[in-house]
């Protein structure tokens, strides 16, 4: 069961040990009403399989896409999502909040 963010860190370790390319996304800041609190994780492998959540499902797709990039390049990214950034990002949070997500490769 992957109920908690702690379980997700264990999942990230397991996937990496299996030899998969793995990225870890973490909500580092939120403004306004954000669906998931700071510290929430999404774990992504090179195939695009993911576990956990950084929002209520609104931006996971975009985070997975960025994560595949991070797995490829190895360079971490700091992403921002929110209504205010709709021009920069094609996805936004329907709740009107804004979140910042750090995506890093597990090496």
């Amino acid at each position: 069961m992957l109920a908690t963010d702690d379980d997700l860190l264990r999942q990230a370790e397991e996937w990496r040990r299996e030899g998969r390319g793995v990225a870890l996304a973490t909500v580092v800041e939120t403004w306004g009403s954000a669906p998931r609190p700071v510290g929430s994780h999404l774990v992504i492998d090179a195939e695009g399989t993911f576990m956990g959540s950084v929002s209520g499902g609104c931006v996971e797709g975009a985070v997975v896409t960025e994560a595949l990039d991070v797995i490829e390049s190895g360079a971490p990214k700091l992403l921002e999502f929110g209504v205010a950034d709709e021009t920069a990002w094609q996805v936004g949070l329907s709740c009107g909040g804004r979140i910042s997500v750090y995506v890093e490769k597990v090496t």
Partner: protein, 233 residues
Amino acid sequence: MDLALLARLNEERAARRAAVLVTDLQSNTQRLVLEKDIMADPLSALLSDALRMGKSGVVESDGHKVFLTVQAPVLRIIAIGAVHISQALVPMAKQLGHDVIIVDPREAFASPERFPDVPVHAEWPDVALPRLGADRYTAYLLLTHDPKIDDPALHFALKSDAFYIGALGSRKTHGKRVERLQTIGFDEHAIKRIHAPIGLNIGAISPAEIALSILGEITAKLRLKPDGTKIGN
């Protein structure tokens, strides 16, 4: 993140030790700070604040944005008394994400049949509790109504860093308990740590209602500052 660092973080959690992962969001450097090493860290004040509140978040250090991933151990409730209230409490505590351990020397009470989902120790508290270890992520509930069993547990709990100690019984029962504690030298500061009568005052009658009031009080202890405002605000 380095796999070795991630493994170390997971290892610390499994061992019920707190740790903070420090990620510099500008330079992308990372380090893991164990609870015992916090005071020696350059960010010691920020790290101990974050740990006390159990809250991950961004802090500023030397003009850099730094993210602190706070990992505190799962809260553990050690219930002395394999009683009806404890049976009602187990599934509720699990929903809240807490671990529960039952201790009761009376084998008829402390049977796996009555508690199929959690560890049950059919032993005296002065035997079982030291072995289970004490830390500040542990709550002790004294639920037997029997001083022979509750008191030794209470003595152990009061010498520990436990974040919550609750004792079942009326004000009168608690008054006698306090007298016994004073006789053997516990001071006012120690005695004030005991929540008694246990639980929030919600007029609880049934075992499940009492379990709810206890878990409500534990949640309040975790989430509220002593002045009643929410931690982190």
